[in-house]
């Protein structure tokens, strides 16, 4: 198994909560690719092994994806999805999965900041292309140039694209300047709100993770609200470790709740990795991150 990268923030899929904010179209140095995306041809999602792409490449990518708990396999899966998306007519499901794969490798595997940034941005673009395949999104975006308006056109079948767009964008913005973070904040809130409105249980309570972390990054943020969202995410998916490491690192430290910090991390460290089989790879990375966080307990709660 190759060496895993340093997890800047071990929360997989928290849609960039790192922000006391976060932008997109308007974010410095980034232009939406939506106007340059192919015209919408596909409404809704297709199965990964859908039409128009090289079937064997997609199957290979899916096989590698199952092994993504290994950093080497994660990189190979990403490369295979890149080939699949380039090899034929893209569909929303493939592009959304590509976006998620960029996120996974950037967040858990890569160590170098510039490389991470590049991958998060590619993840944003892949999700943009996925959303642009929806005629309603495409139409509203071109008319308003406002993704926050356009995302309202998307529904339950498009959650992957919405969510992984926000996740990649948020993580990309999180280590940028204050203005970039502020410029993206309302967009990240809007995309996560859309996910929350459609399905609060999506990706193991992902929108609750986002809205749990957000107040911890805002001056004077409502910590009771933060706690309430984290608890909801845990009620939805107690064995998704990313919620617990995030709860410990972002909420418990700031709220000065040592007991919460220790309890959440101990849960992650003692729970079986296969408690939630579909995210066992992500949980593996999060367990390692929990160990590192726990080592710092006296630093935060001296």
């Amino acid at each position: 198994m190759s060496k895993p990268g340093h997890i800047v923030r071990g929360f997989a899929d928290t849609a960039g909560l790192c922000l006391f904010f976060a932008a997109l179209l308007g974010c410095a140095g980034r232009q939406s690719t939506i106007g340059t995306s192919p015209s919408p041809q596909v409404e809704g999602t297709a199965e990964l092994a859908g039409e128009g792409v090289a079937q064997d490449v997609r199957l290979e990518a899916d096989s590698l994806w199952a092994l993504r708990g290994d950093p080497g396999a994660a990189r190979q899966a990403l490369a295979a999805y890149e080939r699949a998306s380039a090899s034929g007519r893209a569909d929303m499901a493939l592009l959304s999965r590509l976006s998620r794969a960029y996120y996974l490798v950037a967040n858990y595997v890569e160590e170098e900041t510039a490389r991470k940034d590049s991958l998060f941005l590619k993840g944003v673009e892949a999700a943009e292309q996925a959303m642009a395949l929806h005629p309603g999104f495409h139409r509203v975006f071109l008319a308003t140039k406002d993704e926050k308006m356009a995302v309202k056109e998307l529904g339950p079948g498009h959650l992957d694209a919405i969510y992984w767009y926000a996740a990649n964008l948020g993580k990309w913005a999180s280590n940028k300047s204050l203005m970039v973070r502020l410029g993206n904040k309302s967009k990240l809130e809007a995309f996560n709100q859309r996910v929350l409105d459609i399905d609060e249980t999506y990706f193991h309570g992902a929108p609750h993770r986002f809205f749990g972390a957000l107040p911890t990054k805002v001056p004077g943020g409502d910590m009771k609200l933060a706690k309430s969202h984290f608890e909801k995410a845990l009620a939805i998916a107690p064995d998704y470790f990313g919620t617990r490491t995030l709860y410990a690192e972002f909420y418990a430290t700031k709220a000065r709740e040592k007991q919460t910090f220790v309890e959440q991390l101990d849960y992650v460290l003692n729970a079986p990795l296969n408690a939630l089989p579909e995210v066992e790879p992500e949980n593996r990375y999060e367990q390692e991150y929990a160990r590192k966080l726990k080592e710092r307990v006296n630093e935060w709660f001296d």
Binding site: K217, P219, G221, M223, W300
Partner: protein, 345 residues
């Protein structure tokens, strides 16, 4: 004579020069190798990528380079060690060694800092910089020292302005009967009452909801704070009234600092004025960008001229005397005198 020269002089009195040189060198080498770096835990609620964090990083780089690794800075940004009040307590207890935050948070400890909250005490950045650096730095440093704290330098939170929902606040009468969120501070509450509005004391976490649900129709704060908390998303107008200038501060724990050798102490304290200039420049450069962002997000920004701000200050400056006793009459007198001198230049 500093600590190291004193040390060498005493060695020379005991040993001949050659031996002194050898002894000094070997002692220095041994102590350098053996000495454990002194860790400075620095807590602030300022997040990464902000002018405040950049100022802290600047101090960190300078201190670590000058001390050649004998001092190690560990900044905890974004409230990782708790809010301003909690970390201030930790600073006083010596659990952390350095702190960056608002003068407002400190005023419960040093009530004299409320002087800076008086509306329209300052009319411009230049006035505020002059008075803070040349007139008030030493008196406040003394007051803080009495509480076991050392004032390293000022920095800046910025001017407070007014955000309002349905109509802009362009003159004092626009605030008549307006429900406005207020800090729970006698000065702030009196200010709003003097302007004819109805202040409602609301804690920071509840302000956005209060604006959205109509509990209040307006708030005041800096553009950066309003943007970071998304309060601006609940209003249609943001008027640059500049009614209160709020500085920030960087502090050390006094007992910790006094235990350090003189050279390290000097390095930590650095050049207070230069650090303040750098910090302020960063914050001031941000405001135009933040206002542009607010405008992009649909908020109408109203820029007042000097004459328009004068209408507000005419109503509010007479409040100053009423608070003088609780603050420190001498300090207010000194500040007024300095301002008169500055304005007459």
């Amino acid at each position: 004579m500093n600590g190291s020269t004193r040390w060498l002089s005493s060695l020379r009195a005991i040993f001949p020069p050659a031996q002194t040189a050898w002894l000094a060198l070997s002692t220095l080498l041994v102590s350098t190798v053996a000495a454990k770096p002194v860790e400075i835990r620095f807590a602030t609620i300022a997040p990464e990528g902000t002018p405040w964090s950049e100022q802290i990083e600047g101090i960190q780089k300078r201190v670590e380079a000058q001390s050649q690794g004998r001092l190690v800075f560990k900044p905890y940004l974004g409230g990782q060690l708790g809010g301003e009040v909690e970390t201030l307590r930790s600073l006083r207890r010596g659990r952390i060694q350095a702190w960056g935050g608002s003068a407002g948070a400190l005023s419960s400890l040093v009530p004299e800092l409320q002087l800076l909250e008086l509306p329209y005490l300052f009319r411009s950045h230049e006035e505020a910089d002059y008075v803070l650096d040349e007139v008030l730095f030493k008196p406040y440093a003394k007051l803080l020292a009495e509480k076991g704290l050392v004032l390293q330098s000022w920095n800046e939170n910025g001017w407070r302005h007014i955000g309002s929902k349905n109509k802009p606040v362009l003159k004092p009468s626009d605030l008549q009967n307006m429900k406005i969120r207020s800090q729970e501070s006698p000065i702030h509450l009196s200010m709003w009452k003097a302007l004819g509005s109805n202040p409602v004391a609301i804690s920071v976490p509840e302000v956005l909801t209060s604006l959205q649900t109509g509990v209040v129709d307006a708030f005041d704060n800096s553009s950066l704070f309003a943007s970071a908390t998304s309060w601006h998303t609940a209003v249609g107008h943001f008027t640059l009234t500049q009614h209160i200038y709020q500085p920030g501060v960087i502090l050390y724990n006094k007992a910790f600092l006094e235990k350090l050798p003189e050279d390290l102490r000097t390095q930590l304290l650095g050049d207070a004025k230069a650090d303040a200039v750098q910090g302020r420049a960063g914050v001031r450069a941000l405001e135009p960008e933040i206002l542009a962002l607010m405008e992009k997000e649909g908020v109408k920004v109203h820029r007042l001229g000097e004459a328009e701000r004068k209408e507000f200050s005419t109503v509010l400056e007479p409040l100053h005397d009423g608070f003088a006793k609780g603050i420190n009459p001498e300090l207010l007198k000194k500040t007024r005198k300095a301002l008169e001198e500055f304005r007459s230049r």
